[in-house]
Amino acid sequence: MNEIAPARIKTTYREAVRAAIRDALTADPKAFLMGEDVGHYGGCYAVSKGLLAEFGPERIRDTPLSESAFVGAGIGAALNGMRPIVEVMTVNFSLLALDQILNNAATLLHMSGGQFNVPLVIRMATGAGRQLAAQHSHSLEGWYAHIPGLKVLAPATIEDARGMLLGALKDPNPVLIFEHVMLYNMEGEIAADAGAVETGKAAIRRPGRDVTLITYGGSLAKAMAAAETLAKERIEAEVIDLRTLRPLDTATIIGSVARTRRAVVVDEGWKTGSLAAEVTATIMEQAFWELDAPVARVCSAEVPIPYPRHLEQAALPQPESIAAAARATLGR
């Protein structure tokens, strides 16, 4: 519609998150970033590199190794007028802060009968693929999506990496953002003035009529690759990027499945009790009569992620396993 094409810039997922943090801190004097090694080190995944020099140690706040206390402090600061962005270095360490997230952040608004909301954003890296082995490769965003009171986001694209953080900062509720470790180096172009994006809606990243591949975050590229493969076999897969894991955009899911009549849910969590189980159950409840085949799940194997590359990759969803599951729904 716009006659003048908006300026576009080359960037990475990592830079997009950094740009969003910079925008947020520039726009709102109450916003600040807090977490382990976000300052002097520049962030475990280099997301916040340079921001300490720009904003100073009050607003790019290095914390001790105290996940429970600094997440709790983020909640308290949010209660008392600030706009904290707390970085938990990775989801693996967030277990140490889970009590604060579940029993305080998610619960305070309710327990106080609506008096005290917690406008807090928590960012964490998630996922496997870097051969970090059993204690450093969890994908636990599905757990967080279980908790009423939270919003859970999983940006899979550069636009979303930039825009979802800004969107989250407009939300008066605690919002968790999961950034998949394999995405940080992803390159691409976005509008120079890219800003907040809508959260809460899933996106159809590729339209198709034969089967719906439903995924998010680090698995999106794998699903897209699977769709590519399937296209060569004349199977047109529709790919849904959930984007928001809580609340789920069931309308988009059901709308697509009602058209394609087949679905594969892809999720890097362990299969048993995965987010994919929830999506599958939702389809069961809302689109059972539309289905021409059982919904399939492609998740991680039931094993703590092993260190060697061949075993790690074998444990994770792959384009081949996704494509195979899609074919199976078509009886091929």
Partner: protein, 330 residues
């Protein structure tokens, strides 16, 4: 130090007020126990009987813009902070007129007007929050203080450690108030801490710390005033260990196997109201009539609170999933 903020003024009005506040708590709690037995109050109920001097003493030092964070044994703190007994009692009942709309109950008292941030049923769970509210005040250059109450049992939790360090490291305006009543449920202090002088723990974070007789409301007030002045002046956090005793069971379920009845009896005369009352009488500061007037007034207030709660209404079941998330402004 000559700062008038520091020394409690022991005017007759002031001592009467201290007594009155403690009596308000005591009678409220006694009523709660009765109402629990009558099944008007349910869930876990932890009363503050015997520990009233701490909440009352500390609150004297706080201003309206300060923040209070407490535990599941927080009725006393709420009352001393100014949460109306009416809405507090309605909360005990679970009525929607309650200060947390009835959603929270005894362990989750919240009140925005008095900046009472709960009520927290996870032992130690309030300490990181207090670090955060104080951080927000510090970053916004407000002279406010957060008073954070917790039991000596909480001192064993990792969150205690992390919170002490953060508060001290960042020199945040927190007044940590440890209510050392010698037991965590049925676990005696000596069975839970290798260092039983809790204030020494605070010192290990280079945080100024002291121990005070938690049965002496004037001593608590004096310590709080001094600490709050220092905190407001930017000295960073301060730790007060108040030595006290819980006269009742941990909760209404406690069969008190872990302590002798005799031990409780020995403590009773040292109770904060008992002692303060005796002192006021001995020194002829308050007349018997004044005591009577307080009791009469408080009894009426408690009755009014019960009436308010009784008259309260149940939130409609249709509203069940309200208050879970707020809608963003668009």
């Amino acid at each position: 130090m000559t700062d008038p903020a520091i020394k409690p003024h022991l005017t007759r009005e002031h001592v009467a007020e201290l007594l009155r506040q403690m009596v308000r708590i005591r009678r409220f709690e006694e009523k709660c126990v009765e109402l629990y037995q009558r099944e008007k109050i349910r869930g876990f109920l932890h009363v503050y009987i015997g520990e009233e001097a701490i909440a009352v003493g500390i609150m004297q030092a706080l201003a309206p813009a300060d923040t209070v964070i407490a535990t599941y044994r927080e009725h006393g703190h709420a009352i001393a902070r100014g949460v109306p007994m009416t809405t507090l009692m309605a909360e005990m009942y679970g009525k929607q007129e309650g200060c947390s709309r009835g959603r929270g109950g005894s362990m989750h008292v919240f009140d925005a007007k008095t900046r009472f941030y709960g009520g927290n049923a996870i032992v130690g769970g309030g300490l990181p929050l207090a670090v955060g509210t104080a951080l927000a005040d510090a970053m916004q250059k407000r002279p406010s203080v957060t008073a954070c109450f917790f039991g000596e049992g909480a001192a064993a939790e990792g969150e205690f450690h992390e919170s002490m360090n953060l508060a001290a490291l960042w020199k945040l305006p927190v007044l940590f108030v440890c209510e050392n009543n010698l037991y965590a449920m049925g676990t005696a202090l000596a069975l839970s801490e290798s260092e039983t002088d809790i204030h020494h723990k605070a010192e290990s974070y280079r945080m100024p710390a002291e121990v005070v007789d938690g049965m002496d409301v004037v001593a608590v007030e004096a310590a709080a005033r001094k600490a709050v002045v220092a905190i407001r002046a930017g000295a960073g956090p301060h730790f007060v260990e108040c030595r006290t005793y819980r006269f009742r069971g941990h909760s209404m379920f406690d069969s008190e196997l872990y302590r002798d009845k005799a031990e409780v009896e020995r403590w009773k005369p040292h109770g904060p109201i008992e002692r303060f009352g005796a002192w006021l009488r001995q020194n002829d500061i308050l007349h018997e009539a004044a005591f009577q007037a307080i009791e009469t007034e408080v009894a009426a207030e408690v009755e009014a609170a019960v009436a308010f709660a009784e008259a309260g209404t149940w939130e409609p079941v249709a509203d069940l999933t309200k208050h879970v998330t707020l809608e963003p402004e668009s």
